[in-house]
Symmetry: none
Subunit: 417 residues, 2 copies
């Protein structure tokens, strides 16, 4: 069982609007165990759409098409596919009633085009549009590949896909299979190094499959297990995750598609009732802003300092002028003083400081990417570490923030033991 | 001249990651006057990629492929296309030097796979990767369609496309014709409102063409004029820009693809020798961090305060306890006090404060999106204004920052007169 996805619309072809439908449809099909090998995108053009659907039906068992079911003259998906399949368009009476009702309620004038939205492929299963007016269709072809037509707006397509298409697909194609995914998130290890350490697991992958993905400042692994019984996918995932942790567990900071290092750190701090502040030079507030993005952070984060200029380090934090003059601000002494002084002023359990060279220019004779991080903890001497970060100004700043977050994560985790 | 776009990657095929590259590439090609009729997407599979590229080369003059240039064994675009074209892969020495340098600087272990990233198609023009390691390629085929290979991560693909591919495309294919583009950036007006105010211009557009594009927190218009003489494209653009400014000039804050509101504000401040600070509650450092992203900002920005908790507003800034108790922190009085006190402490010409409800929960009985901005100026009474911002927590915070920046821009601009 192999499916193929086609998105239709000149505005997405020109790149004026991003196509998010194909990714959504692909995920939903995957969850029903249906493989997708191709996505294609074409403008509102009958000839090119006909060519594309014909090709798709020749190499796949199911073709899912989104877009072009609307009322304007650009919208020609339904008419084009009907002609290609040799079927007529017929009216869905409940969709037509909904359209009439909308125009009566809003007092707008109904145009003849609006009737088009209630038409579907004769012989197909009409798909109700919960949030809009254009009806969809699930057409089981007597010969050749089946075709599903969905509306283009994501707010209409998504409920139709989830509430109507998926149950029909499971029933029609007898998909008893279930897929479960788990995303593992790593910081401090590159994609190539991670893949090398897991090479044999990745080579032998069958169930679960293991897909590495390099994000801007981190790497994720997506494990996907397939079975007909919900319980055993969990078992497959748990076993594989244990092996991955054994090899690269120090870099694994969390799980889940929507997670982040900041989120994990804030949850740790909340659980342990530990408060935190920051004193930022080159990052200029980015560390604190990243913490601030996490809902609930107010329980552990009172605020902090942006000390960009040398005089701010002295005036706001009381970093000794002698340290600034003697060691410079890109120094171990400055990083320790900034962390410890900010911690004392705000009376927090932890404080992280950032001082270094964001670039593009060098500073105090040090090249861009040279960054000292400081970490102060209540009742302990402050620590500092030097890191050399790659990339442009934005990269250096964000990598500094990530390094600071990861240092907090590891410190808090170690203190649990 | 007709082009076709292919995105490669199993993670986008499965819908785990959205393909934003194809839309970006389509827009850039359109700006060079090159038509795109198809986008396709395929997984990391040599056979299917070969079939797709072969088909694309049979119906288009140029095939632009993104993804699959990385170091893992999934990444097979380069090898597959080389085989299809019948050319070898050769090493780009400057790319190899950059890779070696990265591993030397960061102290990470270089794997043999990393060498793959420095290889490009023999006989092609190698494309430098400013923000990553995989080198791209522009291959002019002696017979048949040309092929461009780009890396998958948008942070690498976008600069390569803008800085290297576009100039090469212009030079290679635009024999007589010359296209000049100008991007106008607007803040404070929605796309539909902007389009309504310019409806007749957009309807009649021929030369220059006018393409509106809604970004997350702003709207841009791309004007593209076409001619054979450089002088007259400038004339066409200048005339159209004058008419657009006449209608919606208050919202126009700047020009250019890589510009930003923060950049415009920092340049204004540097020119006028005006210093600035910030006192941030709900934005938690995002305003200062946004200023800090602009190179050269150190001339006008000494640092500032993140006062997330009420006690930080009192302890760090000296916002009177009476104000906090009586007016609350989401109030005109708090916003004014935060701005004025931070300005006094750091002795700057300007200060902006942010206090409000980022959400998801309400605060002091006020709903998420309620934000007071404060603006202090040396020698003038502080001002405050209330804004109601839409969206989730991240949107509210970023919209607050943009509002603050725009307030500074308008204030500094007005003071010039």
């Amino acid at each position: 069982m192999q499916a193929e996805i086609i998105a239709v619309g000149t505005e997405i072809l020109l790149g004026q609007v991003a196509d998010t439908n194909s990714a959504f449809i692909a995920q939903e099909l995957a969850s029903a165990g249906i493989e997708v090998y191709y996505h294609s995108l074409v403008g509102d053009n009958a000839d090119r759409l006909t060519a594309l659907v014909t090709q798709a039906r020749s190499r796949s068992d199911l073709v899912v098409i989104s877009g072009g079911l609307g009322p304007t003259k650009d919208d020609l998906t339904k008419q084009t596919v009907a002609q290609l399949l040799g079927v007529k368009l017929v009216q869905d009476d409940s969709a037509m009633a909904k359209i009439r009702d909308f125009f009566a309620t809003t007092g707008r004038e109904m145009t003849p085009n609006n009737r088009l939205q209630a038409l579907y492929l004769a012989g197909s299963h009409p798909l109700k549009n919960e949030t809009g007016m254009a009806v969809g269709a699930f057409y089981q072809a007597p010969d050749g590949a089946d075709v599903i037509l969905l509306p283009g707006p994501p707010s209409e397509m998504q409920p139709m896909m989830v509430h109507q298409v998926l149950p029909l697909i499971r029933k029609t194609y007898q998909r008893q299979e279930y897929l479960t995914s788990r995303v593992l998130r790593f910081y401090g290890i590159g994609e190539s190094q991670l893949v090398t350490k897991l090479a044999d697991l990745i080579d032998q992958q069958t169930n679960p499959t293991i897909a590495p993905y390099a994000k801007r400042y981190e790497v994720t692994l997506r494990l996907t297990a397939k079975t007909t019984q919900q319980a055993s996918t969990e078992q497959l995932l748990t076993t594989m995750i244990a092996e991955i942790k054994r090899r690269v567990g120090t870099y694994l900071y969390g799980y889940g598609d929507e997670n982040s290092l900041a989120n994990v750190v804030v949850q740790q701090l909340i659980e342990r009732h530990l408060t935190i502040t920051g004193a930022e030079s080159l990052t200029a507030g980015e560390f604190q802003s990243t913490l601030g993005a996490v809902p609930g952070v107010s329980a552990v984060f009172p605020g902090g300092f942006v000390t960009y200029a040398n005089r701010a380090k002295h005036d706001l934090l009381g970093v000794p002028q002698a340290t600034i003059d003697h060691d410079g601000v890109v120094s171990e002494a400055a990083a320790k003083a900034m962390a410890e002084r900010s911690r004392q002023i705000l009376d927090t359990d932890l404080a992280v400081s950032f001082t270094g060279v964001a670039g593009p220019d060098s500073l105090e004779g040090q090249p861009a990417g040279t960054v000292w991080l400081g970490l102060a903890q209540r009742g302990r001497a402050p620590q500092a570490k030097l890191v050399h970060l790659a990339g442009n100004r934005a990269d250096v700043r964000m990598r500094a923030v990530m390094s600071g977050l990861d240092w907090v994560r590891q410190t808090v985790q170690a203190s649990k033991k």
